[in-house]
Symmetry: D2
Subunit: 363 residues, 4 copies
Amino acid sequence: MTNPRSLLAANRWPVAVLGATGAVGQAFVRLLADHPWFDLVEIAASERSVGKSYRDATRWLEGKMPERTAKLTVKPCDPLEIKAKIVFSALDSSVAGDVEAAFAAAGRVVLSNAKNYRMADDVPLVIPEVNGHHLSLLDRQRSERGWPGGIVTNANCAVTVIAMALAPLHEKFHVRKVFATTMQAVSGAGYPGVASLDILGNTIPYIGDEEPKIELELTKLLGTYDGSRIVPAEIVTSAHANRVAVEHGHTVCLSVQFEHPPTPEVALDTLRAWKGDPAVHGLPSAPSPAIIVRDELDRPQPRRDVMDGRGMAVTVGRVRRDNIFDLRLVAMAHNVIRGAAGGSILNAELMVASGQLIGINRT
Amino acid sequence: MTNPRSLLAANRWPVAVLGATGAVGQAFVRLLADHPWFDLVEIAASERSVGKSYRDATRWLEGKMPERTAKLTVKPCDPLEIKAKIVFSALDSSVAGDVEAAFAAAGRVVLSNAKNYRMADDVPLVIPEVNGHHLSLLDRQRSERGWPGGIVTNANCAVTVIAMALAPLHEKFHVRKVFATTMQAVSGAGYPGVASLDILGNTIPYIGDEEPKIELELTKLLGTYDGSRIVPAEIVTSAHANRVAVEHGHTVCLSVQFEHPPTPEVALDTLRAWKGDPAVHGLPSAPSPAIIVRDELDRPQPRRDVMDGRGMAVTVGRVRRDNIFDLRLVAMAHNVIRGAAGGSILNAELMVASGQLIGINRT
Amino acid sequence: MTNPRSLLAANRWPVAVLGATGAVGQAFVRLLADHPWFDLVEIAASERSVGKSYRDATRWLEGKMPERTAKLTVKPCDPLEIKAKIVFSALDSSVAGDVEAAFAAAGRVVLSNAKNYRMADDVPLVIPEVNGHHLSLLDRQRSERGWPGGIVTNANCAVTVIAMALAPLHEKFHVRKVFATTMQAVSGAGYPGVASLDILGNTIPYIGDEEPKIELELTKLLGTYDGSRIVPAEIVTSAHANRVAVEHGHTVCLSVQFEHPPTPEVALDTLRAWKGDPAVHGLPSAPSPAIIVRDELDRPQPRRDVMDGRGMAVTVGRVRRDNIFDLRLVAMAHNVIRGAAGGSILNAELMVASGQLIGINRT
Amino acid sequence: MTNPRSLLAANRWPVAVLGATGAVGQAFVRLLADHPWFDLVEIAASERSVGKSYRDATRWLEGKMPERTAKLTVKPCDPLEIKAKIVFSALDSSVAGDVEAAFAAAGRVVLSNAKNYRMADDVPLVIPEVNGHHLSLLDRQRSERGWPGGIVTNANCAVTVIAMALAPLHEKFHVRKVFATTMQAVSGAGYPGVASLDILGNTIPYIGDEEPKIELELTKLLGTYDGSRIVPAEIVTSAHANRVAVEHGHTVCLSVQFEHPPTPEVALDTLRAWKGDPAVHGLPSAPSPAIIVRDELDRPQPRRDVMDGRGMAVTVGRVRRDNIFDLRLVAMAHNVIRGAAGGSILNAELMVASGQLIGINRT
């Protein structure tokens, strides 16, 4: 295998996006437009888009649609119609279950944003800097399910922010209990998603199914791989999920109890020094640093910080003592990039770089 | 003394507003415009407004300026210039300390929104439904300070929401620990207050000095009067204060631990059944019910619920089990009405109704 | 006929709302909740709501759902199922054509918000203060179509603002040309309507089909009834329709050319003195004054002025010379109340008060 | 003189920013951070900032403060304290008059955003693509005022959008009359500028002094230089200026009458083909194309299009027939970049490239 970090454009992996017309699908298209390792050659979406050009099938939300993708014809979400071996899925959970399994069974590596397989015992739920080694679950997945390909998931967009911010502290001080109150951007609900009549000048103290996802996925993300399975982290989380009138960027207020409580100063040093899994360093989409610590009292702010690290960094601020637990802090990241499409792409980059795709024919 | 509940207009108490040109001052003017017991006859503000008509001195923010007040000439904040015995103060804390003391020393009853005296041992910090009997501290205040008048304060606008929502539960189950994450409206910062460039499409995870106020004032509000002093409630609170792009209405996400934990169902029944201090029932500004419990999953919402009870009710929703503590819930109320001007007026109504003003000459 | 202005509650007209679950339908329900002349006894909506209680069928958007209506069972939009003789229609134009005709043919008076019949020669398009006498077209409608009932329409929500603001000036000075640039609230698009991802921190310079409606309907609204038909006003309008991040209230910037140009002072006097058709005075929903003229340079503002006259007044400001035409001004009104449901109700009130319903059996 | 288009970094012109702590001043700092021709070496601001580091003196609004600038010490706005020969001024008009004159008298070239000198007979008011040759006025300015340096101004942020959009059409078809209704972003008012309580969920139909600036400056921008003075374009404009809840990007709805009216198709071709003054091509800040024409019905939109051409392009859409004049269209551009700081920098680039700075010593 050639060193993936110096892949020539000619050697890029052809990739496909499933569910390419929605908000997360569009983010995939944007982020893959000039990707050094991946070449977006196929797009797929639901019946009503199939056969149209991507341009005609899509209500494009942000920036310019990449010209090359615009001309692609939308295909059905069917492994018989899609050739790419690496497949990014922005499918809705209502269809992701069957479709993603079909692609894995057909020998494709599926990088999924859907919730369907996240908590399955044999499916990696990965944030590369945090738990990239969970990819080892793929062996078990392949042997148990008999899939020549596989499914790798990334986490709910809100818990991604929490897991990234807490990972450096958990490694050294063992997180035990977490109160997490989120203020989540409207783009987290997709498009058209949240009606303007619901959110203009308003906050909504509820996001369907979000709190259980946060509480559960965190234990897997920060869990340890024991050679055959993920032993969940012994962390109890109590979440309050809120929607706010912000375009992009989920903010989370955290109160954290540790087994070995650090002072705020030590916590800050730990966050600043953290580099995450070395396998991630230098990957095309990996932000450096992965965690940006702000000293200003009034940061992070979604509108001002959300694009740091090209949308892949997590910004942390207000690290201070908690009156009940040990520490309070605030973390924020881009829910569509770090929390969805960008996270999937980074997962794929890690798989390429760490040889997880050996045995998968590029074309 | 005549029954205050049937005061004739002719017998209304003449009242004054200090700091009448600011956002809270304007709320006083609006709420007092047709008040059955109080007659707004004097307004005072800072030097640069003195001598102007209220109309000319004020950048009016909401609705129509009451015609009678518009014509009043702004006076200085000086008890020699103001005759009213009941004085509502919307003064900034930078000047409230001296000015409010001067009025109390001159025999006036000052209903203050400023933070200066809230935590003083001999100054009542009152939400009538919750701890109206704390007004008894006035006797001590008068005897110790030698003031013929007195100062009564109302609480920080965010802690008011929390104290109201928790009071029914604390009475029966004894609150012990509270995690409180706020999403606070821009009107809480006064006018001009928060710059639009700071908050449009954004959230700000910091409000200067707000978290300590919330954490401290709650113990006094829910404390018990032992005949001479307020014994603080043994409640530890850890707060996260955030600003959001909402006009009016502070929302608070609460996780609560009790000495005797209720189930969510019992908590809901308790909240629904609560009527607060009977002395408050029927006061002109008292909402009924004081706490509105919503069953919908996505309530309370500031834009939709903030004017319930004419801005004086606290709306509570999402009462459910907490994973770490006992209960989670969300509470919201109007920060300028219930949390500021309306709260002061209700305090004054309670004083009138409960004979606290006996000995104060009406004119 | 008894004097309708003193109708006893017992004598109220039973009324129905078609399309009651949508945004305009809900506004009808709110405005009819305590109406002195009309008793909302039936609601109808599309197939998927039929048979449910109104409470269960409706995602209620604003304030409290009236308890009596909440319990009503949603009926189909079929005159065989609906008994009321006065029927308010908030139907979408995709179905309004057939349904409204069926009701009219079945002897019901339909007050419609849909565009379908607005420009029909024999259908009144009415803003009561402006052209209430256009109701006379009903005679022709009934005789030509053979309908024992009839259809009365109200205008597009943006043109309503323009027609009201210009009517007083047109009466005296004859409007000839109008440039109209609108800034329209999101509620004008119904619910869910405008996606928050489209409008947060944004403006959209296009509203489908809106500019032609404005340009055309104005000529009918300000046209004259010659005994058999409406002679359109000779006014040419050029419109720019924009969507802005405002909840309620359409603002329109107008540059106007007249046959006999008034000075700004004379125009202001005319606007202030205008009372509209005397038949409207004292109707329950008629605002007084119908046009509110503001002197402040920075008014009208939707958030601050939209509820003036309980949402039925039009606020006008910035009346000044135009550099090309004669006058510039800005007008604003509530698009859901004045511009839709409230306008329909006022139409119905005018019909009751002016004896247009003689011959229609109340029940 | 070396070819400025290949200036080595070592040969960059040292430049200063006056009024560097405000919103436009910060935009200068951001845009100059990596400028190929200019090296930001000095910053100046008002008394209360002098002597502080730029970091400490500034409430930084957007993105990251450039590290090199952060360390600079703020100097007074005095040519004795500032050495740079090229000086960008973001001064408020209340002080710009005297300060900018002092710098010009001291041999500096001042690129000004203030209104003070814009309409002076001997001061160029320049948008490089539109009227770069107006810089020739500098000769007259120097000779008449005896200034070894000079003042070059850029236009009001709203009129810049209009002038850019109309320039291509005016060149060929001669614009005669313009109705212009703006929807202007809050950043146009600086920081703190518009209070959030004024603009959240609102529009304000007035911006102080804005309409006369638009109407007047357009005639100079599109005027012709006759060798000694600018002959104003014979264009009459009638403007409506509105503030909307948008962060950046002024949108303008235009209705235009021409001497030789083009069809919409011809107008579109003209706009698409336009390249502006050839002297501008290839300048570091010059967008290419300068005007972006969008075919989608609902564009331009500020949030989606404002950063096109790195904030320097003007986006035009909805070119269509007008019912009264000849054409309607909508134009939008970034008010802080194209309409202020970026425009000034482009002016300076044009001066460097066209040899206007010959005789000015670089250091």
